[in-house]
Amino acid sequence: MAEISIRDALNQALDEEMARDERVFLLGEEVGEYNGAYKVSRGLLDKYGAPRVLDTPIAELGFTGLAVGAATVGLRPVVEWMTFNFALLALDQVINNAAKMRHMSGGQLNVPIVFRGPNGPAEYLSSQHSQALQSLFVHIPGLKVASYATPYDAKGILKSAIRDDNPVVLIESEMAYAWTGEVPDEEYTIPLGKADVKREGSDITLITYSKPLRMVLEAASELESMGVSAEVIDLRSLRPLDEQAIYASVRKTNRAVVIDESWPMASVGSHVAWLISRNCFDVLDAQVELVCSEDVPMPYNHRMELAVQPSVEKIIDASKRVLYME
């Protein structure tokens, strides 16, 4: 076991998969000579050269679509979007082409492609650069969507995504690239579609994914000091969604809080809260709470931007409400 960052875990996954399969190539803005805007692709251009690592023009629709085309005839591209905010320019190619080719061709075509990059707010970046946009992708049948918040998960999930024969969107976070954790020395993968219990508990289930995981684990420790045993579920995969893992936990704790950093309407969080209300209704001891972003575009001012997002305090407050601790 080595202790490495999420950034390096992703780098290892890319490196290993590019070495294993020469159909795998990486493209995006600044991924080559600059080693990636967030240094995830460090060293890969040196090692594999062009055209296996390609610096693209700033033309998200064009290079994303190009990769979709290449995937349709058998290459296995990894598209790095500098951030998901800029992926909005590429949505047509993802939603109308990547997600639809197999279905429209009656199963003749596959699109084995990975789209990945940082999503969600970082700091001091205002409205256009601080958006958690996963709901747009999760909404679409034909896409798979997954996330990670530990180096172990990052490496295992990225490797599986590259080997998957479907378009897979992977949600990362600028703030989490430096987070460290243990990763095995030997090769492993993590199947898409599986949630993970990040902490066991018996009084309440806290369900989250991506960057908020760390905050949720912190809230769980604080709850412990208040005598509450919280179970933390990391969904990891958002489409498909591991519903059984959610229900198994809620059936044990009878209480649930969902934490999602995107906006409340039509989000993964609101969907999961609805699933729990519907499928665990008979065992619930309280309403299901959702801790999410305020329903506003992100302001630049730092105090305001923190107030907009989920926080340990907001998670604890919501937990207290479902535990009737107020």
Binding site: E29, E30, E33, Y34, A37, D55, T56, P57, I58, A59, E60, L61, G62, N85, F86, L88, L89, A122, E123, Y124, L125, S126, S127, Q128, H129, E294, V296, P297, P299, Y300, N301, H302, R303, M304, A307, V308
Partner: protein, 342 residues
């Protein structure tokens, strides 16, 4: 392989041209103000008074100042990208309001909501401050559409033009190509200005572009094109003034490639290791402020003492803007729910 059809003439002006002292002093003052403002912004960023992406304009001052000084902002409009402090100052926005915005204070031009990338002043016809590369290009085409519409449908006599600034990196977005065709087909009075500072982040133009002189792209849309020496503020001013007249008289959009250089990294977090010191120094030798100052000294319009006074004055203005920002209030947290719907 030799490149095809890439020969362009670079428009420049020798000496002071036809300009009077008063006007050139104003250009010199504006460029110096921008330079000093950016230096101060960098310093305050270092002290963590300013956060996030902060893209400085050092080196490019002649572009915003030369171009915007050729406008009539009662009628004309200006749109640009996130490297916008210089344009904001050049349209005449208060340094206090800009610095306060960088500080995220309620007295900032965008009430602390926009920050460095999103300077706006509707009254001065300055419509941002756009953080998405190329996104202002269709919008600027739309303001030019409105200018055409006001004239043709609503009978307004004087409706102006739109100046749309964007980078050499933005020119590869579909938005650029779609917009230029629309503007050409509908004869919209918009001047597209590529602020060609040679790099989009760490990527040199030639690495991602099939052509290095963007003027030639105008041909494909059947609109006039032009290339201007962007280190010479007089050339920029005269070139844009001509273009503005042409856009109105001939009812046509125009594409202009202005060659310039950014002295600092892409944003505060970029060490700019992808370029050589020699290249930077080569451009710094044609520094737009030094060039204008030297030209004016040659023409006996100004001397060193007079320049020093200009510089001292703008430094004072910049220091006052910091004081203003420091002393301004944080926005009340509840204002996060404001400014979302009309």
């Amino acid at each position: 392989m030799a490149k095809r059809n890439t020969k362009v003439d670079v428009f420049t002006v020798d000496g002071v041209g036809e300009h009077k002292k008063k006007f050139l002093v104003e250009l010199l003052r504006q460029m110096t103000l921008i330079r000093r403002f950016e230096e101060k912004a960098a310093q305050m960023y270092g002290l963590r008074k300013i956060g996030g992406f902060c893209h400085l304009y050092n080196g490019q001052e002649a572009v915003a100042v030369g171009a915007i000084s050729a406008l009539d902002l009662k009628h004309d409009y200006v749109l640009t990208a996130y490297r916008d402090h210089g344009h904001a100052l050049a349209v005449g926005m208060e340094p206090n309001a800009i610095m306060a915005e960088l500080y995220g204070k309620i007295t900032g031009c965008s009430r602390g909501k926009g920050g460095s990338m999103h300077m706006f002043d509707a009254e001065k016809h300055f419509l941002g401050g756009n953080g998405i590369v190329g996104a202002q290009i269709p919008m600027a085409t739309g303001t030019a559409f409105a200018q055409m519409y006001w004239k043709k449908v609503m009978g307004e006599k004087q409706t102006g033009v739109t100046l749309c600034f964007f980078g050499d990196g933005a020119i590869h977005q579909g938005a650029f190509h779609e917009s230029l065709n629309l503007a050409a087909v509908w004869k919209l009075p918009v001047i597209y200005i590529v602020e060609n500072n040679q790099f989009g982040m760490g990527t040199a133009v030639h690495r991602v572009s099939s052509v290095e002189d963007f003027e030639i792209k105008a041909t494909g849309f059947d609109m006039p094109g032009m290339t201007i020496d962007g280190m010479n503020v007089i050339a920029v001013h005269d070139g844009i003034r001509k273009a503005r007249e042409q856009a109105q008289a001939d009812e046509t959009p125009i594409l202009i490639d202005i060659k310039t250089y950014r002295y600092k990294g892409h944003s505060m977090s970029d060490p700019a290791k992808y370029r050589t010191r020699e290249q930077l120094e080569q451009f710094q030798q044609q520094d737009p402020i030094l060039v204008l100052k030297a030209t004016m000294i040659d023409a006996k319009m100004i001397d060193d003492d007079e320049y020093k006074k200009i510089d001292d004055d703008v430094k004072k203005v910049v220091n006052e803007s910091v004081e203003f920002a420091e002393n301004s209030d944080e926005p009340p947290v509840e204002t996060m729910y404001e400014d979302i719907y009309a």
